[in-house]
C-alpha cells in the first residue's frame, strides 16, 4: 500500500510562528502512525469550524467537513451517528467552541459521543484580527475592548468536567511530543475527548514567555478521580499567574452516545411492507 501524501497543495496562510503549525505537524504524525499501524485513513474525518484553526481542513489530505463558525461539534456528532466506523476529529477555535458553539460542546460531552475535539485555544479571535474570547484574561485589550475586557475568562476544563466529558486534557503548542501523546490518547479513547491546546498566536496574543515560565507536566497515573481532576483544573483559572498543568486531567470509560442511540444495526426493513401494514392497521 502506498501511503498517501498527508498535506494538500493548498497554500498555507498561517502567520510565521503560529502554534497551528505545531498542531498540524502533530496531526500529521498521529495520522501517519495510525496508518502504519493498519488503520485506513479513508475512515478518518476532520471537522472544523471557522477561524485560523479551521484551515486545517484545507491543509490535511483527508476527508473533511469545513463547517461554519461554532458548529463543528454537531456536524461531527452526525457523522459519527451516520457511520460508527469513522474516526471523527474536530479542530475548533476558542471563539468557535467556547463562544459561538458552546452549547454543542456541552451537549457532546453530556452525550459522550465518541469524537475528539482539539480546541486551538489562542485566547483570541485570530481570523477576525484580535478580539477577546471566552478564555482571554480580564483586561485583555482587543479591538472590540480597547480599554480592556471587563469579563473574567471561563475555565474550559472545569466546564468539560461538569458536562460529562470522559477524556479531558491540556496541551501546549511548544510541547509537541506531549501534544502528540495527548491527541493519540484522545483518538484512542472511546468517548468524548476534549483537548484544550494552549496555542501561540504570534500576531495577536503571544503568550510564549508567560506559558514557558509556568507550565509543568502532570504525573502519569490513574486519572479516574473526578474530584482531584476538578482540583487540578482549578489551579489555573486562565486569569491568574499560577502554575499551569499540562497533560491528561481526567479519563473514565463510559457508554457512548452512538452505542446507545443505534441500539442494533439497522437492517433494511421492507419499507413498502411496513408502510402497508401501518395503513392497514389504521383502516
Amino acid at each position: 500500500m502506498t501511503e498517501r501524501p498527508l498535506i494538500t497543495d493548498a497554500q498555507n496562510t498561517w502567520c510565521p510562528g503560529c502554534g497551528n503549525f505545531t498542531i498540524q505537524h502533530t496531526l500529521k504524525a498521529v495520522l501517519s502512525d495510525m496508518e502504519k499501524e493498519g488503520k485506513s485513513l479513508d475512515d478518518v474525518v476532520l471537522v472544523t469550524g471557522i477561524g485560523c484553526h479551521a484551515k486545517m481542513a484545507d491543509y490535511l489530505n483527508i476527508n473533511s467537513f469545513y463547517a461554519i463558525h461554532g458548529r463543528a461539534v454537531p456536524v461531527a456528532t452526525g457523522i459519527k451517528l451516520a457511520n460508527k466506523r469513522l474516526t471523527v476529529i474536530c479542530c475548533v477555535g476558542d471563539g468557535d467552541a467556547y463562544a459561538e458553539g458552546l452549547d454543542h460542546l456541552i451537549f457532546a460531552a453530556k452525550r459522550n459521543i465518541d469524537i475528539t475535539v482539539l480546541v486551538h485555544n489562542n485566547r483570541v479571535y485570530g481570523l477576525t484580527t484580535g478580539q477577546y474570547t471566552p478564555t482571554s484574561p480580564l483586561g485583555f485589550r482587543g479591538r472590540s475592548t480597547p480599554s480592556g475586557t471587563p469579563e473574567y475568562p471561563l475555565n474550559p476544563l472545569e466546564l468539560m468536567l461538569a458536562s460529562g466529558a470522559t477524556y479531558i486534557a491540556r496541551g501546549y503548542t511548544k510541547k509537541m511530543d506531549q501534544l502528540n501523546h495527548l491527541v493519540r490518547g484522545g483518538i484512542g479513547h472511546k468517548g468524548f475527548a476534549c483537548i484544550d491546546i494552549l496555542q501561540i498566536c504570534a500576531t495577536f496574543f503571544n503568550m510564549t514567555d508567560f506559558y514557558n515560565t509556568r507550565v509543568y507536566d502532570l504525573p502519569d497515573g490513574d486519572k479516574g478521580d473526578f474530584l482531584s481532576a476538578c482540583q487540578k483544573a482549578r489551579e489555573w483559572d486562565y486569569n491568574s499567574e499560577s502554575n499551569i498543568a499540562l497533560g491528561l486531567f481526567y479519563q473514565r470509560s463510559f457508554p457512548t452516545f452512538e452505542d446507545r442511540v443505534i441500539r442494533k444495526p439497522v437492517q433494511k426493513p421492507d419499507r413498502k411492507g411496513v408502510i402497508g401494514e401501518f395503513l392497514k392497521a389504521h383502516q
Binding site: 483527508i62 467537513f65 463547517a67 461554519i68 457523522i79 451517528l81 442511540v261 408502510i275 395503513l279 389504521h282
Partner: protein, 552 residues
C-alpha cells in the same frame, strides 16, 4: 344532514381526550363507508381550556370540516354554549349528564363508570356509546372500531359504551354507504411515511408544534422503519447534525415550525454551498414569533423560498392533504439526494394535525433514482464539474476517496478558493443543477386543477386550503389551480392550467397574499385576493360567501 354528509362535534376541556374521541368517531364514519376528515382545535395548554374536534364524513373526497354540525358530544357545558351557532334544527346533542344541561340525551357517566368499575378516563366511551345509538350505528361497528383502534382496555371501554348504547334511542340514522374503508392518518404521519418510502434513514428534530407529532411518530416507530431518531439541544444542532448524518451517508431529514426554522437558516445556507442533501419539514403556525402555537397559517412561504444567505437551488413542495403529503415527501427525499440540495416539505397545522382518509391502494409507488456515484477511476473530487451540474456523490469511508465538503467558496476538490474564475465556475454549476431540476420536474404534475374545467374564473390556492377551495369552486362553477411545487416555480404548468381563465382569485391564510405575490413575480397577474389570518382554517361556508363577493 345535507346529501350524503354528516358532521359531528365533540368538545370538552383540554385533557378530556377529545382528540382520541374524535378519532373513534372518524373510524365509525369510515366503517359506514364515508370519507372521513377530522379537524382538531385546541389551545396551547395542557389542562383546562376548550378543546374540540369536528368530524365530517362525506361520500366525496374531502379535506375540510363544516361549520354546521348534525351531532354534538358535549363533555362539558361550555361545548353547548360556545358552539350554539353551529347547531341547526335537527342537531342531536349527546352529553355527560353529570356536568351538562342540554336538550338531548344525557348519559349518567359517573354511574356507568361506577357500575363497570372503570376509571374516569373511560367516561368518553359512554358518550360515544350514546352517540352510536343515536346515530343508528350498529353495535358490531362500535365493537369493531373499539377493538381495532383502542390500544388499551378495549373490552372495558366497550362495556362502558354498551351501557350508554342500551340506554339511548336512535334519533337520526347515518345511512351506511357501503364497505369501502380508507386508512385514517394525519398529515404528519403521511409525511413521515412518505419520507420512509423515499429512503429516510435518520430524523432529527426539536419539539415545536405543529411538527412535534411527526417527531413522536417517527421516534415511536424508529425500529419498525429502521431509522435513527435524535432530539438534540436546539434547532441549530438539529440542522448541523442532519448535515453530518447526510455527509456520513445517511438520508437525513429535519422537522420544525417557523421559529425553529429561523435557527436552521445558517445550516440551510451551508447545505446549499456544500451541496449536502437534506429534507426539511416545516409546518407553519400563526406568526410572527411565538404567535398562536396550535393554530394554522400560510405565512412562511416567502421565508422558506428566500431563507439563507447567498443563492442556491432549493426544492419546495406544499402538499394539500395526506395523500399528496405522502407522495411529495417521497419525491422530496429523492430530489434532495439526486440533486444534492435542500428540499422542503411545507405544511401547516391544518395539514399536520388533521386526520384524512387515504386509499391505501392509491399510495403510489415512489420513484427512487439511483445516485450518480463515483466510479473510482480518477481521484475523487466532491464538486466535479459536470454538464448537469450534479457531481458524483460518495461518502467518507469509501476506499480511496478523499471527500472534502466546504462552506467556503471552493474548487472541484473542495479546497477553499477566492479565485474569481473558480467562484464563477462553481456558482454556474449550482445554477445548472437548478436548471436540470426544473427540466426534470416538467415530467411531474406540479400544478393540480379541480373544479369545473370550462370555467372562466379560477381560484388559485396552495397547501391545506385546496380541499375547501375545490368544494367552493364546485359550488360556484369555478376552476381551482394549485401549484404543489413552489420552487422551482412551475410557471409553464401554471400558465397552461390558467388557459381560458379571465378572472383569477387567490385564496390564502395570510395577510399579504404570498402566493399572489409569487404568481405576480412569475408574470401571472390576479384580480382579487381572499385572505384569512385568524389562525382558523377557511370552512366552505365562510369561503363561499367571501368568494361570491369578488367573483364578478
Amino acid at each position: 344532514m345535507a346529501g350524503k354528509e354528516v358532521s359531528v362535534l365533540v368538545g370538552g376541556r383540554a385533557g378530556d381526550g377529545i382528540n382520541s374521541a374524535g378519532a373513534v368517531i372518524a373510524h365509525f364514519l369510515n366503517h359506514l363507508g364515508y370519507v372521513p376528515y377530522l379537524y382538531f382545535d385546541y389551545p396551547s395548554l395542557i389542562r383546562g381550556g376548550h378543546n374540540f374536534g369536528i368530524i365530517r364524513g362525506s361520500e366525496k373526497p374531502i379535506g375540510v370540516h363544516h361549520d354546521a354540525v348534525d351531532f354534538v358530544l358535549a363533555l362539558n357545558q361550555e361545548t353547548v354554549f360556545r358552539h350554539r351557532a353551529r347547531f341547526h334544527e335537527g342537531t342531536v346533542i349527546l352529553f355527560n349528564a353529570d356536568v351538562v344541561h342540554a336538550d338531548g340525551q344525557g348519559v349518567p357517566v359517573k354511574k356507568i363508570l361506577l357500575e363497570e368499575k372503570a376509571p374516569a378516563i373511560m367516561g368518553n366511551s359512554a358518550v360515544i356509546g350514546a352517540f352510536a345509538k343515536a346515530a343508528g350505528i350498529p353495535w358490531d361497528t362500535v365493537n369493531a372500531v373499539f377493538s381495532a383502534h383502542m390500544p388499551k382496555g378495549a373490552d372495558l371501554n366497550l362495556r362502558v359504551a354498551r351501557r350508554a348504547y342500551d340506554q339511548c334511542s336512535t334519533v337520526l340514522t347515518i345511512p351506511p354507504l357501503g364497505d369501502r374503508r380508507l386508512s385514517l392518518i394525519t398529515g404528519n404521519e403521511a409525511i413521515g411515511l412518505g419520507m420512509v418510502a423515499g429512503g429516510l434513514s435518520a430524523y432529527v428534530s426539536y419539539p415545536m408544534t405543529p411538527s412535534s407529532s411527526l417527531l413522536h411518530f417517527l421516534a415511536e416507530n424508529a425500529e419498525r422503519f429502521g431509522i435513527t431518531v435524535v432530539h438534540p439541544e436546539n434547532e441549530i444542532a438539529v440542522m448541523l447534525m442532519a448535515l453530518g448524518l447526510s455527509y456520513g451517508g445517511q438520508r437525513a431529514a429535519v422537522g420544525t415550525s417557523g421559529g425553529g426554522f429561523c435557527l436552521m437558516t445558517e445550516g440551510l445556507s451551508l447545505a446549499g454551498m456544500a451541496e449536502i442533501p437534506v429534507v426539511l419539514v416545516v409546518s407553519q403556525r400563526t406568526g410572527p414569533s411565538t404567535g398562536l402555537p396550535t393554530y394554522s397559517a400560510q405565512s412562511d412561504l416567502h421565508f422558506i423560498l428566500n431563507a439563507g444567505q447567498g443563492e442556491f437551488p432549493r426544492f419546495v413542495v406544499a402538499p394539500a392533504d395526506a395523500q399528496e403529503a405522502f407522495f411529495w415527501s417521497a419525491v422530496a427525499m429523492n430530489i434532495a439526494w439526486k440533486y444534492q440540495i435542500p428540499a422542503f416539505i411545507l405544511a401547516d397545522k391544518t395539514l399536520s394535525e388533521g386526520v384524512y382518509g387515504v386509499d391505501p391502494s392509491k399510495i403510489a409507488d415512489v420513484r427512487q433514482d439511483g445516485l450518480l456515484s463515483w466510479d473510482g477511476t480518477e481521484p475523487y473530487r466532491r464538486y466535479a464539474d459536470t454538464p448537469s451540474g450534479i457531481s458524483p456523490l460518495t461518502f467518507p469511508g469509501t476506499k480511496g476517496a478523499v471527500v472534502k465538503v466546504n462552506s467556503y467558496a471552493h474548487d472541484e476538490s473542495g479546497i477553499t478558493t477566492e479565485d474569481a474564475g473558480t467562484v464563477v465556475q462553481m456558482t454556474d454549476k449550482r445554477v445548472r443543477k437548478a436548471a436540470s431540476l426544473s427540466t426534470e420536474m416538467e415530467s411531474y404534475k406540479t400544478v393540480l386543477t379541480e373544479g369545473v374545467p370550462g370555467a372562466t374564473t379560477a381560484i388559485a390556492c396552495w397547501g391545506s386550503t385546496k380541499g375547501v377551495c375545490s368544494e367552493v369552486a364546485e359550488e360556484l362553477g369555478l376552476r381551482t389551480i394549485q401549484p404543489v411545487m413552489m420552487s422551482p416555480f412551475p410557471t409553464g404548468q401554471c400558465t397552461k392550467a390558467l388557459a381560458g381563465i379571465r378572472r383569477l382569485i387567490v385564496v390564502e391564510e395570510n395577510a399579504n397574499g404570498q402566493l399572489a405575490a409569487l404568481l405576480r413575480l412569475n408574470g401571472i397577474p390576479h384580480d382579487a385576493t381572499v385572505l384569512q389570518y385568524d389562525g382558523r382554517p377557511f370552512t366552505p361556508d365562510t369561503l363561499l360567501s367571501r368568494v361570491r363577493k369578488v367573483i364578478v
